[in-house]
Symmetry: C2
Subunit: 168 residues, 2 copies
């Protein structure tokens, strides 16, 4: 049990474990791709290493199945909960970065119409995907995911608008 830095990845794992109760790395992977993975991707290997890391710090507990595969089961601890609470209750003034590959090319002189033509279908597909998720959302989904999805939808609309202005 040692000091360790908590990264966004850490809080994602903690948040998902809080929501799901006990889970395996593979279960976490499923959860990620159905939820937060829409705007913050994790690689599946991280869902093996990160819980292990968190276990070292006492933020989660680890059990192993006795039977067959001996899969690892993780659960958030009291310490994990309070770290999560603290993080969550401290509003941040820090801003993300655009980091759009397409904007980078544009910046360095790529042909705007060509980029726009490639980007538009991708953004439209993503928007459709988001809207489908929203329309299929059960009533009991909490406000947070709902708002994050809303932000994603608006973001896609904004980019579609931007690229439409540049397409031939």
């Amino acid at each position: 049990m040692q000091e360790l830095r908590l990264t966004p990845t850490s809080y994602i794992v903690l948040g998902l474990l809080e929501f799901a109760g006990e889970s395996t790395p593979y279960g976490l992977k499923q959860l990620v791709s159905a939820s937060v993975g829409n705007f913050w991707t994790l690689h599946h290997a991280q869902l093996y290493t990160e819980p292990e890391r968190l276990a070292k710090g006492g933020y989660v507990s680890e059990k192993r199945e006795r039977a067959g595969r001996r899969r690892r089961l993780y659960e958030i601890t009291a310490k994990g909960r309070s770290a999560l609470d603290e993080w969550r209750s401290e509003p941040t003034t820090s801003l993300g970065e655009l980091r759009e590959p397409a904007l980078l090319k544009l910046f360095f002189g790529a042909d705007p119409a060509a980029i726009a033509t490639a980007q538009l279908p991708a953004h439209r597909a993503k928007l459709a995907e988001y809207e489908a998720i929203r329309d299929g959302m059960p009533e009991n989904v909490p406000e947070g995911p709902r708002l994050a999805l809303e932000a994603g939808i608006r973001n896609e609309r904004h980019f579609i608008d931007f690229w439409e202005n540049l397409a031939g």
Copy 2:
């Protein structure tokens, strides 16, 4: 001279060297923070290691000053130019990620009004900064940076709008 993977960081260095001609790491740092750094941050240490890496692959050439500090001077090579051209002329369908720390907190249950209150001034400041850059831009700035800046401005407006709806 060995094979190496070219990352966005690589293309930023190549792009800046193409624009600036010969430059030192510190010169690159200045360029970054005045330009592409607005939507794609690099740490200054990367501007020492990345050109060195690129030199190993033959994408840039390295000279050292004979006098005093013996600073390193980098210049893009023909190979570097063609790699840059190829990257630039191949439109990408890949999308960036939102990766907003504030959205992550929101997703996991933070109080929307609290987050919004913290985010709004930050986004407004960023917007003002962008607008100042735009208004002070000389006529001869090429289309690429101009458009990227425009995207940044719209992006800030979009987030301001989003958070305004959530602020108390």
